[in-house]
Symmetry: C2
Subunit: 391 residues, 2 copies
C-alpha cells in the first residue's frame, strides 16, 4: 500500500503581508496592477467592524467598484454578477476582502472574466481557465487557506452541486493577513474554521506515501496549533497570539506545503462534506467535524492503523501502548472530543439532516471526489455507511 | 526579554521542482529567460558524476558559457570573472549547478552585472543591488538553502572577510532538486551540510519572540529530520528517502518560513563561524558544529533555559525532569554528541586552529554580525570566551 515520496512542484507565490497594520500597504500593492478595482466582500460584517471604511479610506486614488453579498458556499450567480462588473468597468485587479468564500468567489470571477461562455464551465472544467485577473486578498477569517492557494470552491444551488476547481493563476498575488481582523469572528465560525484547517492537514497526512517526514512533522505542528489556539481564541476573541497562529495555520495547511510529495491520492472528507453543503447549505467546517471522525473509524484497518498511531503519538503525545489499533482509536476519539469541546456538531441530526438524500450524496461524492482513488478507496456503499454513522 | 510575534512578509517565490528526473524540465525553465546561459559550477564533481553531461545534452538549443572552479567559501575574484562573461556574451540567465557556494557565487554575479563599480561593493552594501539577472539552480548538495532564498555569502581572502549579503531579487526563479544528485556527496560533506541546516533552524528558533508556535514546530520538525536522516544518508549514500528529506530540509530551513515573525534579532553562530572561515577557510558546517554547542552553553541562563528546555523536550523527546536548567543541558549535550556521532570536529585544535587570531575574529564577528543585537547580546569578550571554549 505504501509508495515513495512523489515528485512535486512547490511554488507558493503569494506575497504574505502578515501582522498588525499591514493594510496600510494596500494602495502600493494594488497600484502594481492598475487603478480599476473590483472589491468583493460578503454579508456586511466588514461594514460593522470598520474594515470596509479603512479599505475605502486607503483607496482614494483608485476607482473602486463593489460586489457585496457573497455568501458562505459562494454561488455561481454571484460569480456571473462579478464578471459583468469587470467587463463593464475594465477592472485591473480583484480585491477580495473576507474569508474563504469571498476569495474563492473572487478567483472564479477573475478567471471567468477571460472565458467567453458561462462561468460555471470553468468550475466544471479548469482547462477552460486561460488567463486570470490579478487577485489580492485581505483576509478576515482563518479557515480555507484560499489566500495562499490555487483553489476555489463554488456552489450551484439549482444543480445541488458544490465543486472545487483550481488554477495556478488563481493564486493571489498578495495577501494582507492581520490577525486583528479576525477578532470579530464568532466562536462558532472560529471553531468551524479550525475544523477546516485541521481537515486540510488530514487530507494530506493520511496518504500512502512514505518518507514524507518533514511534511508530516509540519502537518502535526499545524494540528497542534489548532488544538492549542482555537480554545484560546474562543475564550478571548482578542488574543493576538491565538488569532495569529490560527491565521498562519490556515495559510500553511493548504498552500501546498503539507501535500508536497503526497500527490497520488484523492481527498476523502472534503468531497463528502461538499455534498452535505450542496444539498443542505451547512457550514463547511461543521460538516467536516461531523464527517471526519466517522471517516477515520471507517478506514481504520490493519494497514492504516500505524499511520493513525503516529498521529496519536505525535499530536496528542500519548505514550505508546504498543497496540497500533488501540493507539489509533485513542487519536480518533480525541479528535472527535476536540470538535465537541469547541462546540461543533457531531451528528447530522443536530443540523436537522435525515437519511433521505444519503444515496445521492454518496454517489455524487464518489464521482466528484474520485473517491475510488482515495487513501482508502471508497465506493458508494462506503460513503453511505460513513454518512449513516453521522446521522 | 520576550516580545510578541513580529510583523513579517513571507514570499518564497522559487518554483521548486523536486524529485527524480526533474532535470528534464531545464530547457523549458531556462527558455523563459532567453538563450544565452552562464553555467556556473564548482571543482568538477559534476563532471565526474554525469550531471554536467546531462545538463549539456539538454541545452543544445542554448548558447552556454561556462564559469567553473567555484570554491567552497566562494571568492569575490570568481564573481568578477563571472560578471565579465555576462557582459561579454549578453547573458540572459545564470544557471548555477552545484551547492550553496555555486549558487551564492551565481547570485553575486547576477547582481554585480548591473552594478558599475567593483563587485565587492554589492557584498558590503546591498543597497547597491539595483537589478539581478534571473537565476536558476540545479542543486547538488543539501545545506545552505540558497536554492530558495535571498542570501549570498562571499569571501574576500585578501581582506580576510566572509560577508553575507541579500536581495529579494537574488531568489532563484526556479530550482531543480533531485535527491539522486546528492548521492555522491561525501560522508563529511553530508554531515557538514546537515550541521548547516540545523544551525539555520537554531538561528531562528533561539530568539526572543513568543507566540511563534507554528514556526517553532516546523523548526523542530526540520531538526528531527536531520537527526533521523543524516546518519541514514551517511550509512547508505543512495538512500532516496534520506537524501530527499535532507534536501527538502535544506530549502525549508532557510526560505524564510522558520523565521516568520522572528525578525528582531541578529544571528549568533553564523557570524562567528564566518570569521573562522574567513581566516582559516574551513568548511562552514564543520565550524558551526564546533561553535554551536559552546555558544549554547555560553548563553544558557535563567532567562534562556526555558527555550532550551522546549528544544530538548520537543526534539529529543526527553521526559521533563521539571528542572529547566537540567533539561537545557541535556539538549545541548545531545546536540554536541550528534555532531560528534556524524564525524564532525568538536574543537578548533582538530582543525589546527590556535588562539592567535581569536581577538580579531571576535571583534569582526561582533561588528559584521551586529551581535549586540543577538538573542543573547554578545560583545568581543563573549565571543572570545566562546572561541576559547572551542579550542
Amino acid at each position: 500500500m505504501e509508495v515513495s515520496m512523489q515528485n512535486f512542484v512547490f511554488n507558493a507565490t503569494t506575497e504574505m503581508n502578515f501582522g498588525r497594520g499591514q493594510i496600510e500597504k494596500l494602495p502600493k500593492i494594488l497600484g502594481r496592477y492598475g487603478r480599476n478595482v473590483l472589491m468583493v466582500y460578503g454579508m456586511g460584517s466588514i461594514k460593522r467592524n470598520g474594515i470596509y471604511d479603512k479599505v475605502m479610506s486607503l483607496l482614494d486614488d483608485f476607482n473602486v467598484y463593489e460586489l457585496d453579498g457573497v455568501t458562505p458556499n459562494p454561488r455561481i450567480d454571484k460569480v456571473r454578477e462579478g464578471v459583468m462588473i469587470c467587463r463593464n468597468y475594465h477592472i485591473d485587479v480583484v480585491l477580495a476582502v473576507g474569508g474563504g468564500s469571498t476569495i474563492d468567489c473572487s478567483k472564479a470571477i477573475a478567471g471567468a472574466y477571460y472565458y467567453d461562455g458561462d462561468a460555471w464551465d470553468i468550475v466544471m472544467d479548469n482547462s477552460r481557465i486561460t488567463d486570470v485577473l490579478p487577485i489580492v486578498a485581505v483576509l478576515t477569517a482563518a479557515a480555507t487557506g484560499s489566500e495562499m492557494n490555487k483553489n476555489a470552491v463554488i456552489s450551484n444551488p439549482e444543480r445541488h452541486e458544490k465543486i472545487g476547481t483550481s488554477s495556478l493563476k488563481f493564486i493571489p498575488r498578495a495577501a494582507i493577513c492581520d490577525p486583528e481582523y479576525t477578532y470579530g469572528v464568532s466562536k462558532f465560525q472560529t471553531a468551524a474554521g479550525t475544523a477546516d484547517i485541521m481537515s486540510h492537514v488530514f487530507e494530506n497526512y493520511f496518504k500512502s506515501e512514505k518518507g514524507t517526514y518533514i511534511q508530516d512533522r509540519f502537518g502535526e505542528g499545524i494540528i497542534e496549533a489548532c488544538l492549542k489556539y482555537c480554545p484560546r481564541a474562543m475564550e478571548d476573541p482578542c488574543d493576538y497570539d491565538a488569532r495569529a497562529n490560527l491565521m498562519w495555520a490556515s495559510s500553511m495547511a493548504l498552500n501546498g506545503l503539507i501535500g508536497c510529495g503526497k500527490g497520488s491520492q484523492s481527498w476523502s472528507c472534503h468531497p463528502i462534506e461538499h455534498e452535505l453543503s450542496a444539498f443542505y447549505d451547512i457550514t463547511h467546517g461543521a460538516g467536516l467535524a461531523i464527517v471526519t471522525p466517522k471517516w477515520m473509524r471507517h478506514i481504520l484497518n490493519e494497514k492504516t492503523a500505524r499511520r493513525f498511531k503516529k498521529y496519536t503519538r505525535n499530536v496528542f503525545h500519548v505514550q505508546d501502548t504498543g497496540d497500533d489499533y488501540e493507539m489509533a482509536e485513542i487519536g480518533i476519539d480525541k479528535t472527535e472530543q476536540f470538535f465537541k469541546d469547541i462546540g461543533l456538531p457531531s451528528t447530522l441530526s443536530e443540523l436537522g439532516i435525515d437519511d433521505s438524500k444519503i444515496q445521492v450524496m454518496a454517489h455524487n461524492a464518489v464521482i466528484h471526489g474520485r473517491l475510488d482513488n482515495a487513501y482508502v478507496p471508497l465506493d458508494d456503499m462506503d460513503v453511505e455507511k460513513i454518512l449513516r454513522a453521522c446521522l
